[in-house]
Symmetry: C2
Subunit: 499 residues, 2 copies
């Protein structure tokens, strides 16, 4: 076998699969940004066809043979071996799921997405219950097909975060629980900073241009990406040279646009930093969902909600919106944007209580998978947990267990990556502070290039070379350690709430 030639075949084939995947992503981006409403029906089938084509290409027996030839080849470079091994892993995961099961799952997802939409609109969990239960049974079967050690939930967690287990997450959330509760108690006892100025009038076009300025300053390359308006902000990409951010603007909610902009830009900077020469290959892809999220959270919270950041930006912001902010000092602005308050909706939560939202979902999914909680019992479980962990009363299912789309997509095991992302973010940021001694000074000057350069060198360029844990060890000299997040939170909020 000519392994050089076979490897070239592999690259060519995988890049063609990537072409069809990215094409589907372009269609989805257009759907969320510019597509006229009557285009929806044809668009749905176009995306489905592209997805079917890329799936069919990826699971072809000839591709299996190609991968096995390359696994047996003795003369591949280290990077080539990594690509092949990762593709083989992906292929083997896919292969575990029989075709008829994939179809059944995909049909169940379509049905349950529809009934979730209706149930949320009608504010009635019972309308979602039957389809969700069917989906859950399928996810249990999926776990069996995929195989796992220990808890069946591990099989699903592993789909979003390779190597992630109930054992790991139980430990992480247990470590978080008490310190976070203590911190929240102290915060609750202290006087809350005012944040009503964030809901004054902020003109749309001026918000847009302030957001664009933020992103330019952060180093987003607008010749390799762009930003548009979408109802639910997201980031997507069609290569590392074409990264699409979206945002939304509410003229009476300045925070909404600003931190969503910074968050999505963090995702976008990561995508722009992935190695372009590995287009379509595993080494050109992001490490994991938690590492992706660590990049958005680092920029959103560790940078974007810091005083250092606003030492530079606040005078500019005040000049843009004098009517809204001339009577608000920089100190009060900083406190206001960091106000902590237990609430109902995960996506609107502050950076502390956020993790209880995730933890509740994690515990709930774990119980569903092991069978100690039934789908019927979800609303009661949900509401009681929100009461006990967050101290809030859930008034209805719409603002309770129906708020997120994930389950209706069949995504069980996804939520924990959001919290892991914040924990990695805090850990990476403290490593960056060590490695760039004058980082605070640079940020106060609005100079983000050294931080971006550090992220590029230490995280972005590796693509899927490492798992999250391996990457963390390499960057920080230790595995995931949430004490970085805890001490970041304690120091910051002690200062803000003066306890």
């Amino acid at each position: 076998m000519d392994s050089k030639k076979r490897y070239a075949e592999y690259v060519d084939y995988l890049q063609k699969i990537a072409d069809t995947r990215y094409a589907a992503a372009v269609l989805q981006w257009d759907q969320e940004t510019y597509m006229p409403e009557k285009g929806a029906a044809a668009r749905a089938r176009q995306v489905a066809t592209l997805t079917e084509i890329s799936h069919e290409m990826f699971t072809r027996p000839s591709f299996r043979n190609l991968l096995q030839d390359l696994l047996a080849a003795g003369d591949l470079t280290g990077d080539q071996q990594k690509n092949v091994a990762l593709s083989w892993y992906d292929f083997a995961q896919q292969e575990k799921l029989p075709g008829h099961f994939v179809r059944e799952l995909s049909e169940a997802v379509s049905a349950s997405f529809q009934s979730w939409v209706t149930a949320k609109k009608e504010n009635k969990f019972s309308l979602f219950e039957k389809d969700l239960d069917k989906l859950l049974q399928l996810k249990k079967r999926e776990a069996e097909f995929l195989g796992y050690q220990g808890h069946p939930y591990n099989a699903l967690l592993n789909q979003y975060e390779r190597g992630c287990t109930v054992q790991l997450l139980d430990k992480v959330f247990a470590q978080l629980q008490q310190p976070l509760k203590n911190l929240l108690a102290k915060i609750a006892a202290a006087p809350a900073p005012k944040d009503d100025f964030l809901r004054r009038f902020y003109q749309k076009d001026k918000q847009w241009s302030f957001g664009m300025d933020l992103m330019k300053q952060m180093g987003f390359d607008f010749s390799a990406g762009r930003q548009d308006i979408a109802e639910h902000p997201f980031t997507t990409n069609f290569s590392s040279r074409d990264v699409r951010l979206t945002t939304r603007i509410d003229e009476h909610d300045f925070a909404n646009m600003t931190w969503s902009c910074i968050h999505e830009c963090g995702h976008g900077l990561y995508e722009q930093g992935l190695p372009d020469e590995a287009y379509g290959l595993p080494l050109g892809e992001y490490t994991s969902l938690s590492i992706h999220e660590s990049q958005s959270r680092l920029w959103e919270n560790n940078v974007g909600r810091s005083m250092d950041c606003w030492i530079y930006f606040y005078p500019l912001l005040q000049a843009q919106f004098p009517e809204a902010l001339s009577d608000i000092s920089r100190e009060d602005f900083y406190k206001g944007i960091n106000r902590v308050e237990p609430s109902l909706i995960r996506t609107e939560a502050d950076e502390l209580t956020y993790h209880f939202h995730v933890q509740i979902r994690y515990e709930l999914e774990k119980r569903l998978l092991e069978g100690t909680l039934s789908v019927k019992e979800i609303p009661d479980y949900w509401n009681s947990q929100y009461k006990s962990l967050l101290g809030v009363t859930v008034p209805d299912d719409r603002r309770g267990c129906l708020q997120d789309v994930h389950w209706s997509h069949g995504s069980f095991g996804y939520f924990p990556t959001y919290s892991l992302g914040s924990f990695y973010a805090a850990q990476f940021f403290s490593a960056a502070q060590k490695n760039i001694p004058n980082l605070a000074v640079l940020i106060r000057k609005g100079d983000y290039l050294p931080l971006l350069g550090w992220l590029r060198t230490n995280i972005h360029r590796f693509g899927r070379s490492f798992t999250s844990e391996e990457l963390c060890r390499q960057v920080c000299g230790e595995g995931l350690d949430i004490s970085h997040f805890i001490s970041y939170a304690e120091t910051k909020y002690q200062n803000i709430y003066a306890f």
Copy 2:
């Protein structure tokens, strides 16, 4: 054989091919409207992969079997038979071209597009000559593969306009020649109307909204389409429920945006009028390029450059741009927008001299195909023809034979459909005038729904049911007859130039 089941298979398969074609169209639309510049390299390969996939699907032997089964089936409906017959025609045309030839042609197109870009930039035909010659030789071979009766150019003409021949076009252009020359001579002898007011300042946003108002009035459904900015205006669609128009705006050239808007909207109205239930099937596709162009030209010229149209719109326009138009009467505006003047660039030509631009290209391509003109001789031939037919001196290749992209794409035989479109437009419009007795009055009131309804009923809904000629016979009771165009032109310009 269960022909019902086989027909359902056929529909499903053809619609999946359509999905991939339309997906490629979305990617190309994005490329011309929103894509950041560095996205170009990945985008090119993504479009190429989708094109390859849809071509591969269309030429599969199993599809051949499916079509042959259906051709032999005795119990299909009339429409089903038409779809199958048209698909078989398309398949048979494709099948005539060997795979290695298709690849060779596609590589030659890539190379010659690049060298055309360079040659135009450097203003040197010689830089394009070699690649163009190679392409020409391939097009000659293509004609042999496809087969033809009479002239080899017929094989290529037939690709863009089924049934179109040298014999037909020779006759059409011969009929046009003398009346058009006479008309142009009279025009040249009369005093030219002023049109310098069209190059006054017209603010961008106001132009945009005026263009949007025009299209709404024409009946374009913005819930099934949209307009965006592109450097070279075009129309594309991803179903008849998602039609994308583009325009460009020059603040010192009001005519550019306006008639390009109306022209593209004419294309768009046609696409929105195609039967949506035939998505992906021949009966859901446009009749031919000339019929497509007839729709854009009818709106652009027969409607959009008529006095009736501006009786309604001119007061609105004047109110929008008082600085530019308050001293211009409706009469002078009408004359100015219809000023006739031989010029160098086809896309900027008036509606009369336009056809000499097309005729020159037609004669040139015909000679290239029959071998009586060599590629090397193109510039001299071009320049001498522009001198003799249009009376203009071509100063350089950039504004001469290098101006259009078509040849570098391998499109030989395309240009004549532009003229045919205008001739069909005049003929259809005179049929509409007969069928809607108060049409002029309606247009003067800005009421376009009756005209649009007439086009929908008589032209749009038939898709590819008929050839251009059959459709024309059905709508007008006679085949293509350019006397409609000639008498339209004579009446109109006699009035404007008062001879």
